[in-house]
Amino acid sequence: MKLINFTIFKKILYDCQRAQRLTIKKQESKLTLNESIRLRIHLHYCGVCRKFQQFSALLNQVFARERHELAERPPVTLTNKEKTELQRQVDELTEDLKN
């Protein structure tokens, strides 16, 4: 009797697509216990997927900062004239709809 099912073990070690999808899932939400174990084993042996994991985390950081920047310091702004005109349209339509 075989103690270990080698096919399953090989799948865990070889299936990089699956490991990378799990990496994405892990960084955005939660893995099940089974997924978490598979991913951990895979990453232990696979340098390419460890690099991908780092890359993915780096992008998450860069975009989190980008999002923050866009909200705090919008890189492009409407001119005062455009704003006044736009707000005038907003006020006018709001009034119209009240009546």
Binding site: Q17, R18, I24, V90
Partner: protein, 194 residues
């Protein structure tokens, strides 16, 4: 309870943010300006539908995002997202992973994962430079992927919202993010290897 929205400060409070968001996504200043205007005016018309389950800002951003998505879709024959994923699954996966050689089970193809020494060495990454390269690479993503990618990473939308919006499962959603990141990685590797 319904909250009454005060539209008198909308442009001052949200104008520049919405404009920047739209410009980032569309890469077109004129178009961005028009969509911001449309966003405010549609929002007023739909003001009774604001349920107060998100902030006023989030609500306006969602209206803008719908306009941007409509803009992408304009004139194109719409393929449902899940169908798009199914149709492209094999060719996409086969580019990066080996499913054809027996016993490979989706192992990475070495040529599809070149090292990126700029990013993977211990030296500090020049983030400004990375951002510049990334902006160009995002522009090259297939529209289906970039819509989802930007909703998640630039608008900060949550997974549930995105899945409902595109009528996809959460595993479709992980697949989209994975594909987008793989393509971005390839694009960056290509530019930095020149």
């Amino acid at each position: 309870m319904k909250k009454a929205l005060d539209t008198r400060k909308w442009v001052e409070n949200y104008g520049d943010y919405l404009f920047s968001l739209a410009r980032y996504k569309l890469n077109d200043t004129e178009q961005a300006r028009d969509l911001v205007q449309e966003t405010f005016l549609s929002a007023i018309k739909a003001i009774d539908t604001f349920r107060g389950d998100c902030s006023e800002k989030t609500w306006l951003v969602r209206i803008l995002n719908n306009k941007i998505i409509d803009h992408y879709r304009a004139g194109k024959k719409e393929i449902p997202m899940s169908e798009y994923l199914d149709n492209t699954e094999k060719s996409f996966s086969d580019h990066y992973f080996d499913f054809n050689t027996p016993g490979e089970y989706g192992h990475h193809k070495i040529a599809a994962f070149p090292a990126i020494s700029h990013l993977e060495s211990d030296v500090n990454i020049n983030e400004a430079e990375l951002k510049k390269v990334l902006d160009g690479c995002i522009g090259k993503l297939p529209a289906s992927l970039s819509q989802v990618f930007l909703l998640k990473y630039i608008s900060g939308e949550n997974a549930d919202f995105i899945c409902k919006k595109f009528n996809i499962t959460s595993s479709n959603y992980w697949v989209i993010l994975h594909r987008a990141k793989l393509l971005l990685r390839s694009c960056i590797a290509k530019i930095w290897s020149l």
